[in-house]
Every structure is written in structure tokens, then in C-alpha cells.
């Protein structure tokens, strides 16, 4: 099966000028997403996930690189093209409190996308809003209310409704459940999954939570200090993580079963994330890596894929396939 590539990102780079030197927020990042697929972008805060998302949507201008969406050169699209692109690419942010204007009724927030693109009469727009609310599991009558009357989970449903209003093909979800209570996260994850099936959506799903990623993603890309260090199918990644950083991330996720916790090999990384304005030479992970040797300080490892397409950027990647499929 050769799936159709919807989004392809090549050598995408963003450098911000900063007081302490240039911040290399995103450096030579390449990946593609097929139609209907979910690619998860994982990594610690500051690794460049949100910046990558904003570059892809052209909410931010790239320093260099290319983004192609459904055959269109996003980074060089003119105003008219960009307008069309904006209908097809949407985003859901982490904070459902910041994403809605408190002074407008929810109905108005949801009618806005239609109004901006001049779609339908007011009456038709109202009807669309009602069916959108229903689609995300809210009572259509709730459209008359103000954002302050909604819980965090309900607000995130509203943000999702707004993102899917114009039937986009790509939705970027930037930590969509991270700010929600644990009892609410599953509801929103289920909703995102159902919408993907019903509407044929493609997701770029950003998260720092590997358990959530394992649940939702088809493929996983791990970022560290602005670079992708591992990119693989979800199953391959979790059963056979190859980059030392991926191993340490997986190992750091605490497990609610104390018996499992006691039996795990735990890798506790020393130190903090280095500054992105002065990343280590060679492999950027080497200052925290227990496998680092001389070559790691001099040669940047390239992202290289094995025969099955499992790519890793490390001079000494883990290779052996392990029997257990749990990633623990």
C-alpha cells in the first residue's frame, strides 16, 4: 500500500535571534505525513515542537527549508493560496482557556470561520454551528453560553469544533490534552480519534506524554534540541526504541503499578537540557548520554533509516529487538 503523502517537510529550520546568541529552535527537520495518518511529535519542553507546528502552518516564517501540503509550496504561497491553505490546515492549542475570547458567546466563536471565508448565510452558519457542537459531544443549545460557563474539557471540545468547522484535511494538535484533568483526557482523546475516522482527518499530534502518543499515533518522531533524533512506526518505536534519548524518555514515564515500577530498568538522565542557543557539538544529546564516545563530540550523527524505515540519529543506536512489546 502506498499511501498518499499529504504533508512533506524538508530540512525545515528556524533560528530566532536572541540575547545569548541565535536560538536554534528547529534545525533541519524533515518528515512526511500520509493522508489519514497521525504523526506524533514528542520531546521535552523547548525541543522545538510548537515552533515546528507554527512553521508548517506558516504562522511563523521559516529561516529555511520546505513545506509541501497537498502539492502546494506552503512557504512560498501567495495570499490567495494561503487563504485556501488556512481552510485545509487547522490547529488546536493546549490551553483551552486562552483560545476562546471570553466576551463572545461560543456560537459566535464557531461562526467566525464561516464568516471569514464567506460561507453560507447567517441562518446556514447557525445550523452548521449546531451540528458542529453535536459532533463534538456538546448540546447545541450550549452555543448561547459564554466560555466562562464551560469546564476545561468542554472548552477543548469547542476549540476542536472550531478547528474542524471548515472540514480541513490536516489538524495540528499541540498538546491538546496536557492541560486537562486526568479524568477528562480520555474523553477528548476518544473524540479526536472518532473525528479522524468520521472526517478522514490527518493529525500532526504534539505531546510530551508517551503513553498518550502510544495510544493515538501511527508514527512517532522524537525531537531533542530542535532536531529529530528518531522517527519510526509506533509499534516499532515502542517495542524497539533505538535512540538513547528515546530510551531514557520511556524509562522516565512513571507507571501506576508498583510491581512494574520495581522491576523496570530505570535510566535517570543526569543534568538539564542544554541551551538551544549554544547546543553541544556533534550529537546534541551527548552531554546527557551514557553511551557517548569521542566521535559523538565531533561528528553530528545523521538520521538514517534501516530497511523497515526505522530512522535514528545516533552513532551507537540500540539494535537488538527485544522480546517484550511494552517498551517498559
Amino acid at each position: 500500500m502506498t499511501a498518499e503523502v499529504l504533508l512533506s517537510v524538508t530540512n525545515l529550520t528556524k533560528h530566532f535571534p536572541g540575547r545569548g546568541g541565535t536560538v536554534r529552535a528547529v534545525d533541519n527537520v524533515s518528515f512526511s505525513i500520509s493522508r489519514g495518518e497521525t504523526l506524533a511529535l514528542v520531546g521535552e519542553s523547548g525541543s522545538g515542537k510548537s515552533t515546528t507546528a507554527r512553521l508548517v502552518l506558516r504562522l511563523l516564517e521559516a529561516t529555511s527549508g520546505a513545506v509541501e501540503f497537498d502539492g502546494v509550496d506552503v512557504l512560498h504561497a501567495g495570499r490567495a493560496e494561503l487563504r485556501t491553505l488556512r481552510r485545509q490546515m487547522q490547529i488546536v492549542f493546549q490551553d483551552p482557556y486562552a483560545s476562546l475570547d471570553p466576551v463572545h458567546r461560543v456560537e459566535k466563536a464557531l461562526m467566525e470561520p464561516f464568516a471569514i471565508h464567506g460561507i453560507g448565510s447567517r441562518h446556514e452558519q447557525r445550523a452548521s454551528v449546531a451540528s458542529l457542537l453535536e459532533r463534538v459531544g456538546l448540546d447545541p443549545a450550549m452555543g448561547r453560553r459564554f466560555p466562562s460557563e464551560f469546564s476545561g474539557g468542554q472548552r477543548q471540545r469547542i476549540a476542536i469544533a472550531r478547528a474542524i468547522a471548515l472540514e480541513p484535511s490536516l489538524v495540528v494538535c499541540d498538546e491538546p490534552v496536557s492541560a486537562l484533568d486526568v479524568s477528562i483526557q480520555a474523553q477528548v482523546l476518544n473524540l479526536l480519534r472518532r473525528l479522524q475516522i468520521d472526517l478522514g482527518l490527518t493529525y500532526l499530534f504534539i505531546s510530551h506524554d508517551l503513553s498518550v502518543v502510544r495510544h493515538i499515533a501511527d508514527r512517532v518522531a522524537v525531537m531533542y534540541l530542535g532536531e529529530i533524533v528518531e522517527l519510526a512506526d509506533c509499534d516499532a518505536f515502542f517495542s524497539n526504541p533505538r535512540h538513547p534519548y528515546s530510551l531514557s524518555l520511556l524509562s522516565a514515564v512513571p507507571h501506576p503499578d508498583p510491581v512494574v515500577e520495581r522491576s523496570r530498568d530505570r535510566i535517570v538522565l543526569r543534568g538539564d537540557l542544554p541551551s538551544p542557543s549554544n547546543p553541544p557539538s556533534g550529537c546534541r544529546f551527548r552531554t546527557r548520554c551514557w553511551k557517548a564516545e569521542d566521535i559523538c563530540a565531533t561528528q553530528p550523527p545523521l538520521l538514517a533509516a534501516d530497511a523497515r524505515g526505522h530512522a535514528v540519529a545516533c552513532h551507537f543506536p540500540e539494535g537488538t529487538t527485544r522480546a517484550s512489546g511494552s517498551g517498559l
Partner: protein, 340 residues
């Protein structure tokens, strides 16, 4: 202090914390009781608004009017804390009880160096010389894993990373060799690799210094990783309590059970649909009769008792208690959902 053998380190009996708000009286903590033993790692888990922080602040006497705290007993090392003056309580807080908050930046002063703040805490509670306090500050920073402690005592909090700041906050909490450290979501603001470092540090402190730690979190993973005893809070009450392993492997309250199965895990079966908990936590301003979890409960099936009678926390096994009328209907979480 009194003989340590015959009473727990911390004893909380029937604690009730109220806030009067414009919309009425809000009962944030509704009659909870628990004990913490010396050297124990005690966890309180619950979602936001369940009353975890209010519980901690009530214990250390930081609830100010229009909030009010009443309890049958709050005692530390056998000494009644409720009857204490503000000054007496302040003395215990910071010396015998250390406190670590979620956001260390809010807890640290921006205008003093890290070393000055630790030394100040020591000198506030013990009569030692300036140079002795400074020497101890370096020693404590070193013991919480801060590299180049002798240099770092001169840095200001904003010059440190989030993980380093939390270590400093822990160092301050430890400055006077407390018997209990209370930590309110100490790793929530941190990345997972840094969280692992901080949990490891807290674990070492318990082992090496025999300090008891009370950790509050919303993350069952942190509980499984760290706590040996846990209380699950929902809507201001403890709905389940017990030894961590037993409680998380064989939960006896539907809320605990639902939380455990609704969250994806690294080793769970990958299924299309997560068994989510419907609805949202109740409004504490408008308590309804019966079980607070009833509207969301998958076990109630609308049974009358759930809607009418307040379930009370009762023993289901030695040391394990549940506040569900039908706690005997719950057992071990299916091997499928646990081991995938």
C-alpha cells in the same frame, strides 16, 4: 518531643476546610482523616479541585480567613497543632515540617541568592553562626544533587533551570532536618526526565534520612513510582485509602478503578476507544445527597443507595478502606487491562 513509639508522626482526624465565597459556602475538604508514620512515603492523588492543596495548607496552618479549618485533631509527633499560636506553628513549619510547592519560583525570593535563602532558613530556626549556616547551605545543596554547590550558593533562583530550582526548594525544606516533608505537586511543572530525577532524590532522602514525605499529585504514575501508602481524593473526601500496591492493583472504589483504566499506559492494550469517565467533577457549592461520584459512576447503575445515602469510608481489608456502598463488587483489575 514525646515518645515516638506510640503515635503516628502526623495524625489528621475529621479535617473540614471551608471557604466562604460570593456564591456561598464551599466545603473544599469534607471530613478527612489519615495518619502518616515516620519515614513513610504517603501519596494523596486526585484531580484539580479535589481538595489536595487545601488539605496541606490546613495541616500547616496556612489557610487564612475567609477560609476556616476545623478538625477533631491535627497532631504532629504527638503534639496538638490546632491549639497552637501562629508563632508556634510557624516554628514547626520550616524546621520540623518542610514544604515544597509546585512552582519553586513562587516559593523562592528573587532578590536573595540560593545560599542566603537556605542559610536564612537555618538561622531562623537554630542559633548558629553565619559562617556555619553558609557551610551547611553548601552541604545541603550538594546533598540534593546540585553540581558545584560551593559556586551555586551565589546564584539567584531565576538563573537556575526548573529542575534545579525544585532541588533548591527541596534543600530549603530540608535545611533544619525535618521529620516530614510535604510536597504539593512537586514534579507537575517539570519534564518527565527531570521529574524522574526529583522523584529519585525524594526517594533517597526517605531512605537515607528517614524523613517521611507527603506527596500530592494528580498522576497515578507518580504514586506507583513513589508512594507506599495512598489516599485517593474526590470532591473533598478520601474515597479510597490503602497500601499503594494493593490499592492500585485491586482498587475497591469505582473512581480509582475508572481512573486506572481510562488512562493509556505504555504497556496497556492499544484499543480504539479508551474507557473514559463521563462528565466532570461536581460543583462543591452544590452538594447533592448520596455519593458524589454517582453521576459518573459505571458501577452505580442508578441504584437508590448511591443517590440517597452518603457512603462512608469503611475497611475492606486490613489498612485498605473504600467509600463505596458496593466496594465488595470490585476486585483485581483484569489482567488484560493491566498487563496488556
Amino acid at each position: 518531643m514525646s515518645d515516638s513509639a506510640d503515635h503516628p508522626l502526623l495524625e489528621v482526624r475529621n479535617l473540614v476546610t471551608r471557604f466562604s465565597t460570593q456564591e456561598g459556602d464551599l466545603i473544599a475538604v469534607d471530613g478527612i482523616s489519615f495518619d502518616i508514620e515516620r519515614g513513610q512515603r504517603f501519596g494523596i492523588v486526585g484531580e484539580s479541585g479535589s481538595g489536595k492543596s487545601a488539605t496541606l495548607w490546613s495541616i500547616i496552618g496556612l489557610i487564612d480567613p475567609p477560609g476556616s479549618v476545623v478538625a477533631d485533631r491535627i497532631s504532629f509527633d504527638g503534639v496538638d497543632m490546632l491549639g497552637m499560636s501562629r508563632e508556634e506553628r510557624r516554628r514547626i513549619r520550616g524546621s520540623r515540617i518542610g514544604f515544597v510547592m509546585q512552582d519553586p519560583l513562587a516559593a523562592l525570593s528573587p532578590v536573595f541568592t540560593v545560599g542566603e535563602q537556605i542559610a536564612e532558613t537555618i538561622r531562623c530556626h537554630e542559633s548558629v553562626s553565619r559562617s556555619e549556616a553558609k557551610r551547611r547551605a553548601i552541604e545541603i545543596l550538594d546533598s540534593v544533587g546540585i553540581p558545584d554547590a560551593a559556586e551555586r550558593v551565589r546564584t539567584y533562583p531565576h538563573e537556575l533551570s526548573g529542575g534545579m530550582r525544585q532541588r533548591v526548594a527541596i534543600a530549603i525544606a530540608l535545611a533544619c532536618n525535618p521529620a516530614l516533608v510535604i510536597a504539593d505537586e512537586p514534579t507537575t511543572a517539570l519534564d518527565v526526565t527531570i521529574q524522574a530525577q526529583v522523584l529519585e532524590l525524594l526517594e533517597e532522602l526517605c531512605k537515607e534520612r528517614g524523613v517521611a514525605v507527603l506527596v500530592v499529585t494528580h498522576d497515578l504514575g507518580v504514586i506507583g513510582r513513589f508512594a507506599d501508602h495512598v489516599a485517593v481524593m474526590y470532591a473533598g473526601r478520601i474515597v479510597e485509602q490503602g497500601p499503594t500496591e494493593q490499592l492500585l492493583r485491586s482498587p475497591r472504589h469505582p473512581y480509582t478503578e475508572a481512573l486506572l483504566v481510562s488512562q493509556p499506559r505504555l504497556d496497556s492494550e492499544r484499543r480504539a476507544e479508551l474507557p473514559a469517565i463521563p462528565g466532570a467533577p461536581p460543583n462543591l457549592l452544590r452538594r447533592t445527597p448520596g455519593c458524589a461520584f454517582q453521576p459518573r459512576c459505571h458501577r452505580s447503575n442508578g441504584r437508590e443507595r448511591c443517590c440517597e445515602d452518603d457512603p462512608v469510608l469503611h475497611a475492606v481489608e486490613a489498612e485498605h478502606a473504600s467509600a463505596c456502598h458496593f466496594s465488595d463488587e470490585l476486585g483485581e483489575i483484569g489482567a488484560a487491562s493491566r498487563d496488556g
